[in-house]
């Protein structure tokens, strides 16, 4: 990606690298086991101290109003170092609070998000609502100045480490689909909340969050009743530039190349041909990222560009992992080694954050202008 960034931006990149020097041994990018959240916490705090968790926020809320490029550089470097992913709170959650929260909510939540202290998890998916979020069933019923919330969220990353859940909840009747949805910022320490871990194949965990008549003050509702779908739509584009950063792919590629060199496979023509394909793939995803940044800078929603980026990136991450296995590394069989882990981890990427099929549907409709089959 040389030559794509201004001197200021490159300067920022070196500052990020300098900070990362201090966190060399931190491996918080992949959710290696269940204490990842605790491990990356100090780094988030350090980012907060520098104002780097609020790079793009408006100044009135303590942000720096910098362009999306800075956030991209930050998280791309973090990914290359495998240090950490963007914290959920500072992205979608903060943006939705800034856009739709009351003054009181701004004061209550934004400072601790900015400093890297507050932890949120995202409560969207439910057992019956995965790709189809309009099918959310968790219900909130108004009772005086509080809502009683009952239902089940599932596949919730980091719920075990978070204090709040940013939850999409039904306030209308079930048939209201997209119209009757509302966001709440629910305190996970409230009575009636139970969190159950779900172990995943990559050795990490997702969670089930059961809400059983949880009493939530009206002041924890985000926006008006029925605003949920609109807030969700806006939020999905907030993180589009850091949703799949190419740095992680570059890193996987460099590691595989180093391994191939170390075992003298680098002269094998099959291996060379595969490596060449993969190298082109990494370049491609980098180019797509730059294209995405440019589209966002020019003020477009860039829905199709986002889908290209996610689709190409997540697919390449699987190809990288598979190549490593195909090259016959015996390490591939051993738990905890990078190659073995890469593989297990990469199969999550085409599902979480919107499945590849949904990305293809988006591309077909938005970019290729094909009709929807309904």
């Amino acid at each position: 990606m040389r030559g794509c960034f201004s001197a200021d931006e490159e300067q920022f990149r070196s500052e990020v690298r300098a900070l990362l020097e201090e966190y060399r041994d931190l491996d918080g990018f992949f959710d290696h086991g269940t204490d990842a959240a605790t491990r990356v916490h100090p780094l988030y705090r350090a980012l907060g101290d520098r104002g780097w968790l609020s790079l793009g926020w408006p100044r009135e809320h303590g942000g720096q109003e910098r362009s999306v490029v800075y956030e991209f550089i930050l998280w791309d470097e973090m990914a290359y170092a495998r240090a950490a992913r963007p914290p959920l709170a500072a992205g979608v959650v903060a943006q939705s609070i800034i856009g739709h929260g009351t003054a009181e909510q701004h004061q209550r939540f934004l400072p601790s998000i900015r400093s890297g202290e507050a932890e949120f998890c995202l409560g969207l998916s439910e057992p019956e609502a995965g790709s189809d979020l309009a099918g959310v069933r968790t219900r909130a019923v108004l009772d005086g100045d509080r809502y009683l919330v009952t239902g089940e969220k599932v596949w919730t990353s980091m719920a075990h480490a978070a204090r709040h859940i940013w939850a999409l909840v039904r306030t209308g009747d079930l048939e209201s689909r997209t119209r009757g949805l509302t966001f709440f910022l629910i305190d996970l320490q409230s009575p009636g909340v139970t969190i159950r871990p779900i172990p995943t194949l990559d050795g990490g965990q997702l969670n089930e969050v059961h809400l059983d008549g949880v009493s939530v003050p009206v002041t924890d509702r985000l926006g008006e009743e029925g605003d949920g779908w609109r807030i969700l739509g806006e939020s999905l584009v907030v993180e589009r530039h850091v949703q799949f950063v190419p740095g992680r792919l570059r890193r996987d590629y460099d590691d595989i190349l180093a391994w191939v060199r170390s075992v003298d496979l680098v002269t094998d023509p099959v291996v060379r041909a595969r490596l060449a394909d993969l190298a082109v793939g990494v370049d491609e995803v980098e180019a797509l990222s730059v294209g995405l940044l440019a589209a966002i800078e020019s003020g477009r929603t860039a829905t199709a560009e986002t889908a290209y980026n996610k689709l190409a990136g997540s697919r390449l991450s699987q190809e990288l992992a598979r190549a490593a296995l195909d090259f016959g590394t015996p390490e591939g069989l051993v738990v905890g080694t990078p190659v073995e882990f890469l593989w297990r981890q990469s199969i999550l990427e085409t599902i979480g954050g919107g499945t590849s099929e949904m990305m293809r549907n988006t591309i077909a409709r938005q970019a290729l202008q094909l009709p929807s089959s309904g």
């Binding site: 790709s131 099918g135 995943t200 997702l206 016959g328 069989l333 051993v334 599902i351 099929e357």
Partner: protein, 307 residues
């Protein structure tokens, strides 16, 4: 050419299904018996004669191959491919105990610690070793199948040329086990996509999902018949390598697709899918994985032919 099982073959498979209903399956694969080596299943299979079909009167390698498919499909935690196909092809009697197969000592071996015998490819010869505990290094395994590295001592050669026979039957065993495991994973996936609704439609009604699964079906079916053919023909070098090459390529693809279309639930350890897919991954890596299988096929078809 006949693609229908004979009455005898049906009989064998029915009896096996009954046995596996008791001694294998998803629930058992999660218990102690299924996580280590399932000695009860091993004994039951042995006593009922399922491990001696290879050279039996009225049966043969094809019947043995069918048994390997079924045991793998039902998640039997035994060295089924090695004991039903490879061992017998090298003249090792069924009652000698679990067999580990070794081609590259650097690679962890399935059931390395539980096996009593190791068969090792050494150049042109296959070597026979009786395993002692001190030659075993256990390796942690996320696959639902225990792994260990072996450095066996004091064996004997099974004669010149025996490694070719061992490798060919090993490839048939890989193909058969992969086919069995894929069948199990695929069946569960189909049930899932037929029942799960999003946007008021079953996800199995989306063409994007249908076409991937249909391609998987084509490749899986092809792998199944290639494996059976290779066994029936007595594991010629080329046909065995073709069976393994297709089964392994298909496994890599199918593994990907079944996880994709089951969504997040398929990635959890609570759901059964991983019981098949994790085991499948191990099988696909044996004998240098896909590249190894394909090179063997190319060698057999186009290189060895004219030496």
């Amino acid at each position: 050419m006949d693609f229908e099982p004979t009455t005898e073959q049906r009989g064998v498979l029915d009896a096996l299904t009954t046995l596996l209903a008791r001694h294998a399956g998803t629930a058992r694969a999660r218990t102690g018996a299924g996580q280590g080596y399932d000695a009860d299943l091993d004994r039951a299979l042995r006593e009922a004669g399922f491990l001696s079909l290879f050279g039996a009167e009225g049966a043969g390698p094809l019947e043995a191959e069918l048994v390997v498919e079924q045991v793998a499909r039902h998640l039997g935690s035994v060295t089924i491919g090695a004991n039903a196909l490879v061992g017998p092809a090298l003249g090792i009697e069924a009652d000698r105990g679990p067999i580990a197969l070794v081609a590259n000592p650097a690679v962890p071996i399935r059931y390395g610690a539980e096996a009593e015998i190791a068969l090792v490819v050494q150049g042109d010869e296959a070597w026979y070793y009786t395993l002692q505990p001190d030659v075993v290094t256990v390796v942690e395994s996320p696959y639902g199948v225990p792994l260990a590295r072996l450095a066996p001592r004091d064996g004997h050669s099974l004669g010149p040329g025996s490694s070719g026979r061992m490798l060919a039957w090993w490839r048939v065993a890989i193909a058969a086990e992969a086919v069995g495991l894929m069948s199990g994973a695929f069946a569960l996936t189909l049930t899932h996509v037929r029942g799960r609704k999003q946007n008021d439609r079953t996800i199995g009604s989306y063409q994007a999902v249908q076409h991937r699964l249909a391609e998987c079906e084509v490749l899986l079916d092809g792998s199944r018949w290639l494996a059976r053919q290779a066994a029936w023909l007595g594991a010629p070098e080329e046909e065995s390598a073709a069976a393994a090459a297709l089964a392994v390529a298909t496994a890599l693809r199918l593994n990907r697709e079944v996880h994709q279309v089951t969504g997040a639930i398929g990635l959890t350890r609570e759901y059964d899918l991983h019981l098949w897919t994790q085991r499948l991954r191990l099988v696909t890596l044996e004998l240098s994985g896909l590249l190894g299988q394909r090179r063997a096929l190319a060698q057999a078809r186009w290189v060895h032919q004219d030496v």
